[in-house]
Symmetry: C2
């Protein structure tokens, strides 16, 4: 009986994710799910990304947080549409929450939809939200051992961004250790070294992003 309950929940979650993906495909938008530990720079990345996508690019953000609307406020003046989803005690965004978020947006007026997931290296990795691709941020101050310690997160990444790369001179950080750990679990995702402060790596990230956008059929 308990097993049946769990199965139903997972099946419902997968069905909701598939339905989200169908809606986004029909709208012809690209959806990128951003995942990372708290404070790795997801909001700062969007603050840098959205203006650089150009005036023609219509952007929207679904922002997940337990509490507060601080991140949505930071992005409100930049993206065309922003919706904050407060999860309360919830440790990740669910497909049902994203479906409600999609209801709040005019999907026909979006080219890029970013989902800023709850800051957490574990739970969000387990939930398909219907996104087309995941970008995982790993900030230098978190240490160079995180790929091996949180492999599920990095296995499923379409791109991996090593953020706060400007701190690599201040902190002891072995980028080769990160590359070595990644080579065992994910050999396709590009590793982009990025600083939201200096702008390093933003061009590479934007090129990856616009390339993925071209892959979506409207």
């Amino acid at each position: 009986m308990k097993i049946n309950v769990v199965k139903n929940v997972l099946a419902a979650s997968e069905a909701a994710a598939a339905d989200n993906r169908r809606r986004m495909n029909e709208a012809g938008l690209l959806c990128v799910n951003l995942l990372s530990a708290p404070g790795s720079g997801k909001t700062a990345l969007l603050e840098n990304t959205i203006p650089r996508l150009g005036a023609d690019a219509r952007t929207a953000v679904l922002v997940g947080d337990l509490q507060t609307t601080r991140d949505a406020e930071r992005l409100g003046g930049l993206a065309t549409q922003v919706t904050q989803i407060n999860t309360g005690r919830g440790c990740h965004l669910s497909p049902a929450q994203v479906a409600a978020g999609l209801d709040s947006l005019d999907l026909r007026r979006i080219d890029y939809l970013f989902i800023e997931n709850v800051g957490n290296m574990v739970c969000p990795a387990a939930f398909d939200l219907g996104e087309h691709v995941r970008a995982v941020l790993l900030s230098v101050p978190e240490g160079d051992d995180k790929v091996a310690k949180y492999p599920v997160l990095f296995q499923q990444a379409g791109a991996i961004l090593v953020t706060k790369i400007d701190l690599i001179g201040v902190l002891e950080y072995d980028l080769d250790r990160v590359r070595g750990d990644l080579s065992k679990i994910n050999t396709t995702a590009p590793l982009i070294q990025l600083s939201n402060k200096t702008g390093e790596g933003l061009e590479e990230w934007l090129a990856w992003l616009t390339d993925r956008r071209r892959g979506v059929s409207a």
Copy 2:
């Protein structure tokens, strides 16, 4: 039916935590549960703490990680007893896992038992493991907005350690914002500014720790 399942799980979790606490009280040890985001410096804090507690202090660590034994290896030469608990895809340590960890230790030969929880600001906050007190780490690079965004974690803290304080000159960080957010949810826990690199704040942390140790009746 579903509600009954959840109730049973929570009741079992609380009972397991109470049993852990009873065993630790009988052994006369102090148990501190360390919680934080990934890479805030929990292991580094223990590397600094254990030698400074003095040769007479018998220390043990239960280390929680999804994968690897890297943290346990770092602490193996320092603590008297160390046990690594790998949670697989589990986002927090459970009371049952801690009970199994206690089985692996000689509790009569421990003065301080540290539980290094899985790096995660959400899920570990929801689970009493039977510890006497929680210490929450918040590293400067994570940003000064985390108390408001993850309030449950900070509400239940007995001490709050702002780690990597040596980076406060390099990064923009408003400690008064942290204090202001804390004043709304936790007015009793001391806020300790600490650097595992320079040693700043370690004396204050050790004083807090030994004071808590004296509060445990053997």
